[in-house]
Every structure is written in C-alpha cells, then in structure tokens.
Amino acid sequence: MINSQIMSHPVLLQGNEAMVEGALAAGCRFFAGYPITPATEISEAMSIKLPALGGTFIQMEDEIASMGAIIGASLAGVKSMTATSGPGFSLMQENLGFAVIAEVPCVIVNVMRGGPSTGLPTHVSQGDVQQARWGTHGDHPIIVLSVSDTWECFALTVKAFNLSEEFRTPVIILSDEVVAHTREKIILPNPEELEIVDRLKPTMPPEWYIPYEDTPRGVPPMGIFGDGYRYHVTGLIHDVRGFPTERPDEIVPFMERLFRKINQHFAEIQMVEEYLTADAEVLVAAYGAVARSAKRAVDDARSRGVKAGLFKLITLWPFPRRVLEPHLRQVRAVLVPELNKGQIAREVKRINQGATRVETLSRIDGRLITPDEILARLLKL
C-alpha cells in the first residue's frame, strides 16, 4: 500500500515523523490522539497520511479518550496507536492497565518532557521511565522501548507493533523532546524488507474458541469483534472464557500467564546495543537522547586512554538484566547518565548487588547531558 519508490528513498525526517512512517509501515491504520507538545507532530502527520491509506485519524477530547479509542479499534481488528507526552500519559494510565488485563495489542508513544504536571513542555527529560513501568495500578507486566535517534524512531515503532501483536500487550515507546525534534537523514526500507507480525487469530470453529486459554506460548489467539468468535472483554480479573471471576484457582493461573507470556520470551524482547564493551573497564549505561552524548564521550575517553564502553538500553522494561549482569562483573565502574534523578540507575544498582561501583549523572534542568559532562565523569571514575 505504501509507495515503494518513496519508501526506498533517503528522507530527512524528525523523530516524530519517522515514528509515523514506522507505524504506517507496520500496518497501523488507526490513530487517536490529543494535541500535546512535543508529541503533536505525530498527530499532525497521521491526520495527513492516514486517510490516503484508508485509515482513520481521530482527534479525541482528551488522552483518556485517546487510549480508550485505540483499545476499541484494536479489538475491532485494526492496529492502532496513540502518542502523547507526560501529562497525557498520566491520564492514559487507567486504560493502559485495561489494555494489559484485557490483552489488547496497541502502541503508546510518550515523548517525554520535563515534569511533573505541566512541567517543561518544550524541554527534554527522561522522567517517565518508572511511570512507564509502574504508572498504572496493580501488578502487571509491560514492554517499554526507548528510542535514541531518528532511525530508531522508525525501526522501533515497527518493532513495537510487532511485539504488541505477538504478545497481545500494550507496548510503550519512550521518546524524548530531543529525539522527537531532531531532523536526520534516514533511508526508509522497502515495505517487503520489513518483518511485520500480525496477531494470531483463532482458526477453530467458533464454538470451540476459548478466548483466554492457557497456551504454551501464553498468548491465546485473538478473535476480533464481529468475526463470529464471541467473547467477553472486561477489566475485571477473568477466567479463560473472559467472564469475571473471584476464585483463587482461576485468578492465580490468569495472573501467572499474564507475566509468563512476557517473561518466557525475554530473550526476544530484550534489545541492547553494545559499543566497545568487550574490553571496557568503565561502562556507560545510557538510553534515549543521552545515549548519543554517551557514545561521543566514550570515543573521547578512548582517545585519552580510558577504556570506556557504551551499553545502550533499547528495551527498558522488562529490564535487560541478563545482558548487563556479565558486564557488571567485569568493569571497574558503571556510569548511568540520565535526565532524571536516577530512575534507571536505581534499576542498575538493584541488579548490581555490590558487584561494582554504580554512579549516577543526573541533569534535571530540561537540557541534554553533553558529551563533555559524561567525559569529565568518566575520567574521574
């Protein structure tokens, strides 16, 4: 459906626009959003591009409604997405929990800005990392990806749709103001080069369909509304048929399966990028826009004789501990630069268990951490 000639050409895009390209390439045909700086460009581009592809853009009355609309659209069988920033993300939390428990695939983009509340609408922050994990109430698994450049905005949006379709779960993409508004040249691949995953649909006769059946993969096939596979969708804890239950022998298997479907595919979900980590003595663990500053700082440190390496997190939650743990046992110290008071550093420290020294580098003034700041700390480690 997408014009392949346009797709194979190099394009100059900002992060937000690349996300739109990624979503459309992944098959997203429904977008519900609400204007909010710095995520508005996603809505604007979607409102222009979706109608031509036979999709629908709706501007909702608030973010609660946006999230509700994409849940509805996804249950109707369309890949759907919304985009917002901090205050809107807070409003989406209740419905995000609904999408987790009802196992509705959808993608939520949060372009992080300074917070809390209205905060710094036009400045960068990474303050929503723990909120993305624990924002909605109740114990729940969630997949959160982080983007650090324009190409990742494209590629990881495609990946986010694939993960959400594969595991029937909402996937959150954490972008930030710097990534969202940086314009870069990227070469968009042809549609046939992309791996696109669609949700598993039931193939059995409708009367045999058990909508929340415990399968070995943990992900039951998803009947869409109107195709004959009737089932009950609820935000209450439900049994395998989707009806509310309060029986402990049904609650426990349901919750266990919810966690298991993510946990047993951990290797598939965890994504990191390692740069010069093989012989590193000091490690920088970074994500988002800060990872680009960190990469430069690592290069500069190497040229000054400090064996530094960059461990860039792409999947933030579930936290890629299995790939980080070996490094923690090898390096002299780990520096975690981030635009908050240490939300990922807290996680690194938890996994570290005293194996090495973990230091944080926080910047909370709405500006990006510069390579020099990271370098100065690296040279002291």
Binding site: S47, A52, D62
Partner: protein, 335 residues
Amino acid sequence: MEKFGYAQSQKFDTYASRLMPRQEYFTMGHRACQGCGEALAVRWVTKAIGKDAIIAHATGCMEIVSSGMPQTAWMHPWIHVAFENTAAVASGIETGLKILERKGKLAGPMPKVVAMGGDGGTSDIGLQALSGAMERGHNFTYVCWDNEAYMNTGIQRSSSTPYGAMTTTSPPGKKSIGQSTWKKNMVHIAVAHGIPYVATASPSYIFDLYFKVRKALETPGPAYIHVLSVCPTGWRSATDMSVRLGRLAVETGIFPLYEVVDGRYRLTVEVPKMRPVRDYLKLQGRFRHLRDPEINLIQRHTEANYKLLLEKCQAPFPEFPPMFPPEEPELVAGA
C-alpha cells in the same frame, strides 16, 4: 445595554472609554501574538471583574503568554492548574472561602471566584469538571476563551472548531474538507445544567462584554460566559482585522450575542440586516479552500441555527435576503 452593543461594523461611536474603569488588571508585557482577540477580551473581562477576585486558569494560550515571570500580566491572585480541572479547582477555592467565611476567618468581603479556560480546556478535556461544578452549584463564574482550536500547541482542531476550518489535524485535501463536524454548542450545554446565568460575548462589543461579566459575577451560583476570541495566527487572518472579524461573526449570525437568565433567552445585540457568512469566511485563510457548495452549506446551517435562537429569544426575524446567495446544489463527495 442594547445601544452599546448595537451592530455597526466599523463605527465605534458608542464606545466611550471614559465610562469604563481605568484600573488595569491584565497589564502590558504579555507575549500574545499581534492582534490577539483573546488578550483584548481578557483585559476587559478582568476590568469587569475588578478587585477582590481569585482566578483559576486552565493550561492554554493565555496561560502561556501571560504568566511567565517576570512578565506576569495578571494583577489578581492567579493559579494555573492542569488542562482538565480548572472548574474543579475553582470549586475548591469557592468552597474553601465559604468555610473561612463560616468560621469568621475571612477578613473583608468574600472574593469572587473566576475560572477561565480555552475552548479545548472547556469543551473538550475540561467539560467533565465544568459540568460537575455547574451541577453542584458553586458560586463562580466560568469564562471560556473560544479561539476555535488548540492554538497553543500549533492550531489543532477542537470540538469548538467550525465546520470547514483548516487546522493541522483537520487538513483539507482530497479526502477531507477540513474540520468535518459542526461547532459544539457549549452555551446550550451550560444552559442545560439549569444554571442562573449563561451568555455569549465578544471583545468586539466591549460594553456588552463588560456588563455581561458584571452580571455573571453578581449572580449567585454558577455563571458561564463564552467569549469568541479572534486568533489571527490560527485563523490566518490579518492582525488588524481582529475586532472587525468579531463584529462580522455577530453580523453574519455565526456567533450571535445573547444571554440566558434562568433559562430565558434574550438577544443582547440585535442585527437588523444579516450579512452573508461569506463576508466573514473570506477574511480568514483557514476557510480559503472552501468553495460555493460548502459556503452555502455553512450559510444554511447558520441561518437555521439563528432562526432557532430567535425563536427562543422571541425576537423578530431580521432581514435575511437578499444578502444570502441563492441556493446551490448539495455538496457532492469529491467535488
């Protein structure tokens, strides 16, 4: 009151600034765009509010341009709240003041409580809080600055955007005419709550605006005022046409000025001879893509709504023809 608001497009002979308070409560130094109708409206609404008032303001254009230190333009005690809850915060302020008064801890007169928000913060995200506050009957005045889109984030449509208008999330093109729905009638929603005072106002009719705000403040219980704020940036209109556009909105029947006191409608600005909506639309770049069929559709819709309003007001019908263009065929898809 009528003679002050009498529709005369370019004549300001009834405007007598010496009759109005000189005290400024919305001062210079704010960062509103050139020709901002909203800033003009805020200035005159705050003059009408006078001293002894507390203002809760939702996120929006006026909050952004007027509250940055050290250039804050507000002389009143002023709180910027989140986007969706200005009416809820105003409810809290009003209730808190009542408690202080009951306990005898309030020195001086009871301050007036005013909530303000843009059209998005009122008719979209803030509707729930506003509805709740009006239903509970708090003694406050809500003023909606209606510039017909989310101008602050870069001109996105709201439910208050009129049919056919171009915004960045309702782009006109082969598959779209621009905004595809009609403007949400917030005034009727407010009236439906059975509150004592509801009015529409425009900064192009300053006396009308001034007295409506005074009336709203003096009314015990909730009051709602819907102010049309011309936005040259978002409407793509000339910056020197703001006041004129406000007048044209009234004279074409697109934004009639009226008040509803205890459910009784009254037209405050009577227009003896209606102008065609084309006069209003052609001055704005956001309607530039509209062709005759769409303009006629807007004309018919405006006319029908205006007639309904006049019936409610029991006012005589003004002269419609020959200002209206002749009927043209219905809009055909893809035309």
